[in-house]
Symmetry: C2
Subunit: 525 residues, 2 copies
């Protein structure tokens, strides 16, 4: 595939109107060809008008047709995995093999959403049959299904340039819901974004869908983001990234004359609590295992277990020593962007300024934007006194917290803001303490992991990638897993309808055999 | 039950700290005993601390215990129906019999939510079993259920002083979800609010629950509302009322350091479209039927069909004449509050100022706050030119729109903002036109009614009482029907858990026999 650097607005390729950029190879500091176009408010308007034009037909595609379209994207994504991986190795400085795997996994997500669409459970179809003789008033026939919200804007993330980017779970779940999509590409990987965008666009054309089903934009600074969340035709927004960036978009969207749902996935330190019996029995194993997971993707992962808490006692020193030894093994590796590298250096220094001690370090940086792996330690007292110590350091740093008592561990658990995940390591003798800790963690996180590590992320029915603020802007939703589709649908009730005017899933004969709640009972007949 | 006028904060009765008020009998203009206490920020803080304290235990009640608690409220509400109705007849000037029915219906809503809790489908339990041998990475066991958000603040409405007030569907669905509740009573019916509040509080005590599960506050002006949405322990807010009031609370909550979900149900004109064959065949029947429904509760209903649209042609004059005759039959009746009466008079005048013609009027007002029933007519051209004509007039007014063509009807359908409902009257010969209109209505409303009128509101599985902005602040939810519980829950995933530490609905043996999605298949085993 030849990269042209143009914006993809429906079927059109649109040249720059607001400057251009080149991608940076963070491993060499060199700029990569070609030049990529930036657009502005005019391109936003053009893409959203097309998305709105396409919405009525796309949102009313039959379930089988929509599922086939998602499968087609999956096939094309998988077929392009080598090309994508090669470009991403250049754009990120990370090994190509990682991205081959990410492309295959992301193709799998599109296929899973195709299944979700075919099965039609996401419609949450319900039928309350007429009761003409009911006293004191008769009941009319009521039938409900979920329908798509409208055009959706997706802001791709920097750190997983396929699965949380143009051809990632946000796009898959929005398209599955029946929404049309405008993606704002992340400028950290414009080439991969273009490849992914062209794949989806090609699938739109081959499936015979309206060109406005998908567009890919790119822009400099905040201007294009603001134009996107301000546009009157947008019906929902998703964002994965920093708390600052996410909240700026969130608050802006809430100031619209007509506020719209914005789901932002922002920040999490994914605290890991090690209870005493587990600590004594396998402190070293936990310390080493956690560091291995934390260093995945140079620590640039939303599920990185960034803070490890244990009460000082038998096994604590083993845990610390093993974690330190593991950190010391890690080579310095290129971070995703110079900006992310600079923030990492600054935020790691912040830990020291706030009283954390550097316990171990990986190999020293060899190149300009290499991130050095670091292990810090701090007392429970300091952690409780200083909120900044409980905040994310995006990159390969882990903070070990030495607590003085189990009461302090409970207090620390209560002190965290909302999280994507929390992990508990507990042996049989810890079960009582674990049971007491669970309700505290449940209130603060979207996922609780027991005696394991929280990555890799599963994409399935029981997955939650969400949590109380500031992990996300709305804890009622998830951005990963089959539930992600719920962000993009709303209920509509059809009352007293003639059968032939009803949407297919609600017709009396249930021709699609979707699960429906009929007079309160689940049935497929 | 003796009314004391105190605030009900948990088990405590709290005297006024911010002034007092008396209820007004709008039929006589007289003030009713006793004095009702106003509270301020200190009482808000006290109620929310209690609600937060109660949350961990209440949100972890077993499903059977929680359902029994809801049934207990239902029994007490039904037992108090005469007392409630007598007080409400005084506080509203409306007939007592209406409120007996409302009390019975609201008791039924609590019972329906008890069933929802017992069945446990709202938990949306999902199990993805472990796949230790999966390549390239094994899968850990993942189990998901929905959990309650936390303490919820509910702002009661003025117009349905039981079912949308203290003991209404918002409270029932929040308690069913496992949330603790603080209600801010509407000052239009403080006595009924106290009766309802005491009923719920008594049920909390008899069920042996933490006193903080429920509190009832009252306050003057905006101050208490602002303190409620600002309080750091509140996790969600619901509101039913005007667009101005709802959006003030919504926007304030979105400016919090940690934004919280606010569901506001605000304004809707519930447009009714009459297609040509239906108009010719039964124009008079539709005109008369619509006016009868519109005048229910002196036009003070969110589902009032306020705007009736038809293309001028055969049957149009019959429709208008029948609507006019029906309006002329209606006695002037007391409106809920002097403020609502004054706004009605002002807004009805606005229709005339914008070019609508008064076609008919009901009996002239006999008392100060009587609302006179009114029928206006306006051209399609004016309706399209003047957005104010498409806005709600809360009270007994109906606007008939005389359209010049079917194209203008389509254009008018597109011009409306988001609605709770829209209605289509269409005969067999209208089916083609109806099919074209449906996608337009679907995008703009939470409910479409075919050849019927949209009230009374059903409270069931297929009910939607929601819709795009400004009908509500978030079209993905409903405030009426079993789906209302979804506003108050969020997913949590339990990963790799030992069975005995899992929440009961997720245990391997499924002891509660709830429906679960196990490896993608729905099952109760």
């Amino acid at each position: 595939m030849t990269l042209t650097g143009e914006l993809l607005i429906g079927a059109a390729e649109v040249a720059a109107t607001a400057g251009t950029m080149k991608a940076l190879d963070p491993a060499t500091g060199e700029l990569l060809e070609p030049e990529f176009a930036f657009g502005g408010a005019a391109e936003v308007d053009r893409a959203l008008r097309l998305a709105d034009e396409a919405f009525d037909s796309y949102s009313h595609t039959g379930l089988a047709q929509r599922a086939a379209f998602l499968d087609l994207i999956a096939d094309k994504l998988e077929a392009a995995k080598d090309e994508l991986a090669a470009r991403l190795a250049l754009e990120t400085g990370l090994p190509a093999v990682q991205f081959e795997g990410e492309a295959v996994r992301s193709a799998g997500v599109f296929r899973k959403f195709a299944t979700v669409v075919r099965q039609g459970r996401f419609l949450q179809a319900a039928v309350d049959t007429a009761q003409p003789d009911r006293q004191p008033t008769p009941r009319l026939d009521h039938r409900l299904q979920k329908v798509a919200l409208g055009p959706v804007v997706i802001f791709g993330a920097s750190n997983f340039p396929i699965s949380y980017s143009v051809a990632g779970g946000d796009t898959a779940s929005a398209l599955a819901a029946g929404c049309t999509v405008v993606v704002k590409a992340h400028n950290a990987h414009p080439g991969a974004s273009e490849i992914e965008g062209r794949i989806i666009r090609q699938a739109v054309a081959e499936a015979g869908l309206h060109e406005g089903v998908f567009s890919l934009l790119r822009g400099a600074g905040n201007e294009i983001g603001e134009a996107l969340v301000d546009h009157p035709l947008v019906r929902a927004v998703t964002f994965t990234g920093s708390e600052g960036g996410g909240m700026a978009l969130y608050r802006r969207a809430q100031r619209r004359p007509d506020p719209i749902p914005v789901f932002t996935e922002m920040t999490s330190v994914n605290p890991t609590f090690v209870l005493p019996a587990a600590l004594a029995a396998r402190g070293a194993e936990i310390g080493a295992g956690l560091v291995q997971r934390a260093m995945y993707n140079v620590g640039q992962a939303c599920l990185k277990p960034a803070i490890l808490l244990a009460v000082d006692g038998p096994g604590y020193r083993d845990l610390r020593d093993a974690a330190a030894a593991e950190v010391e093994k890690v080579d310095a590796r290129t971070m995703l962007t110079p900006g992310i590298h600079d923030a990492y250096t600054r935020n790691a220094q912040r830990l020291e300024d706030e009283g954390a001690t550097r316990v171990a370090a990986g190999a020293a940086p060899a190149r300009a934007w290499d991130g050095q792996s670091l292990l810090y330690e701090v007392t429970g007292e300091r952690l409780l006194a200083e909120p900044a110590l409980r905040e994310e350091v995006f990159g390969p740093a882990v903070l070990l917290v030495r607590l003085s008592s189990s009461e302090q561990l409970t207090e620390a658990a209560r002190a965290f803001r909302g999280q994507l995940s929390a992990t508990l390591h507990a042996d049989a003798a810890d079960r009582g303490a674990a049971a007491e800790l669970l309700p505290i963690l449940e209130r603060r996180t979207g996922r609780i992991v027991f005696n394991a590590f929280s990555i890799p992320q599963e994409v399935s029915y029981a997955s939650t990638h969400g949590g109380p603020f500031p992990a996300t802007s709305d804890s009622r939703f998830t951005s990963v897993g089959m539930g992600a589709i719920e962000r993009f649908v709303r209920p509509v009730t059809y009352q007293n309808f003639p059968d032939e005017l009803l949407p297919e899933p609600l017709r009396e004969a249930n021709p699609l055999q979707v699960w429906r709640l009929v007079d309160g009972e689940l049935t497929r007949s």
